[in-house]
């Protein structure tokens, strides 16, 4: 089988989406750590357009953008577990939520980088995003993908798990269990999936790093 490499950084939610997908599929890969303050020639060659991680390199060919990578993984290794629904209509539905996660999930990262009025705005965006998912995304299902997790769960898993740390680092509280009972229940189930459980960064350790970054950001704001 052609070799698989994942270029990324530790503690990136986008990188973790790819790690989860590869591990769920049982695809062996090599992790290549990138220093974003000093981007490697290889990274710039593989992702000349955005110069970002993650980049999946399969048999020497790069795939960029975490959700594009996830769909690539699902289509290249379609074996169990299947991470997308098996009929076109439900797949269109899943893709809708994937796009929603891509487009609206940014509010969480923006929140981390913002202060003052900007912070108020991004918090509002993040709350709206959560509300929409709570109301329209899950329904009565255990996971977005039904009885088992799928790509949409990976997309939101990274957003919500990282949000919990970012909230603490910024000193705000958005994701409250009484406001988002479905999402809270879903997150608990998500974290208990064996592959996910084994591949979740520790939130206390994350908080130390994120708090430090936040202090630097605020100081230079």
């Amino acid at each position: 089988m052609a070799e698989v490499k994942l270029h990324g950084t530790l503690l990136s939610p986008f990188v973790y989406r790819v790690i989860w997908a590869l591990k769920l599929k049982g695809v062996p890969y090599e992790f290549v750590s990138e220093d974003l303050s000093n981007k490697s020639a290889l990274l710039l060659k593989y992702n000349p357009v955005h110069k970002k991680i993650p980049v999946l390199v399969h048999g020497g060919k790069p795939v960029c953008e975490s959700m594009v990578i996830l769909q690539y993984i699902e289509e290249t290794w379609p074996q169990n577990p299947s991470l997308m629904p098996n009929n076109p209509y439900d797949r269109a539905h899943a893709r809708f939520w994937i796009k929603f996660a891509e487009d609206k999930g940014v509010a969480v990262w923006k929140m981390f980088r913002s202060t003052g009025q900007e912070l108020q705005n991004t918090m509002k965006e993040a709350l709206e995003m959560l509300q929409t998912v709570e109301e329209h995304g899950l329904g009565e299902k255990k996971f977005f993908n039904g009885d088992n997790i799928g790509l949409v769960d990976l997309a939101f898993g990274s957003i919500v798990y990282w949000l919990q740390v970012i909230e603490d680092a910024v000193g705000v509280k958005l994701f409250e269990s009484h406001k988002f009972p479905r999402l809270h229940a879903w997150l608990e189930n998500f974290k208990q999936v064996p592959i996910i459980e084994e591949n979740l960064p520790n939130q206390d350790e994350m908080l130390v790093v994120f708090k430090r970054r936040r202090e630097q950001l605020v100081a230079s704001a």
């Binding site: 357009v49 399969h58 060919k61 795939v63 960029c64 953008e65 594009v68 990578i69 769909q71 690539y72 289509e75 290249t76 076109p88 209509y89 797949r91 269109a92 539905h93 893709r95 809708f96 796009k99 929603f100 891509e102 487009d103 929409t132 329209h136």
Partner: protein, 231 residues
């Protein structure tokens, strides 16, 4: 795959680039459909019900079930009606590349177009630079994706990239006339320019793109009233 009773409706808007993408796909595949024109200032209750999250066009309704987001609709159409020309390649790597560029067009390119038409003075000058930069990136990207140049396109050979390029740049003359800026410059972006010329010759495309004068009038109206273009 399922031929059965195939009731297909498209809620769209005649000037919407996203709506046009879906019309092109339906016609390439030869899928009969009912078209419902939406007044975006007075959206139908049906539209609001079908697209409760975004309340936008286009919405494809297949046997009563709604699908939203134009690129997603294109993939749905390709997967559901598998006879006729394929809109997407089967190879996962090629599909990933197309998805990457579809996302670039929507987020990066359209983002900078929007900044261009909604800003003034110095802000707008910066926005112009940004548009040219993104167009450059797109031109380079398409050159790499299509090393043999633009493939022959006609009513039977029409893929997702052709659809995106047509819907985005097909009406370029109307855009130039209203905004006084040559974005699709043949000297800067020869591949994109020649691709669009080829596409605009195809009867299928001529039958779908908005009429020039009508589009110019709408864009003038939007520009004069500082309105925001929306779907």
């Amino acid at each position: 795959e399922m031929e059965g009773e195939n009731e297909v409706k498209l809620h769209g808007m005649w000037a919407s680039t996203y709506s046009k993408r879906v019309e092109l796909a339906l016609r390439v595949k030869g899928i009969p459909y009912e078209y419902i024109e939406e007044d975006l200032r007075n959206k139908s209750p049906l539209l609001l019900q079908y697209n409760s999250v975004y309340k936008k066009v286009p919405v494809l309704v297949h046997n009563g079930k709604p699908i939203t987001e134009s690129y997603i609709i294109l993939e749905y159409i390709d997967e559901t009606w598998q006879n006729g020309p394929r809109l997407l390649p089967q190879d996962p790597y090629q599909r990933a590349q197309i998805r990457f560029w579809a996302s670039f067009i929507q987020q990066q390119l359209f983002g900078s177009f929007y900044k261009l038409i909604s800003s003034n003075g110095e802000e707008q000058e910066k926005a112009v630079e940004e548009v040219f930069e993104k167009m450059n990136v797109l031109e380079k990207g398409m050159k790499e994706l299509l090393p043999e140049g633009v493939p022959e396109v006609d009513g039977n050979n029409f893929g997702v990239l052709d659809i995106l390029v047509t819907a985005t740049f097909g009406p370029y003359k109307a855009h130039e006339e209203v905004f006084g800026l040559k974005v699709l410059d043949p000297e800067k972006y020869p591949l994109l320019f020649s691709w669009v010329q080829k596409l605009n010759e195809i009867p299928l495309v001529k039958g779908v793109l908005p009429p020039h004068d009508k589009l110019v009038a709408l864009l003038q109206f939007i520009k004069q009233n500082d309105l925001k273009p929306s779907s």
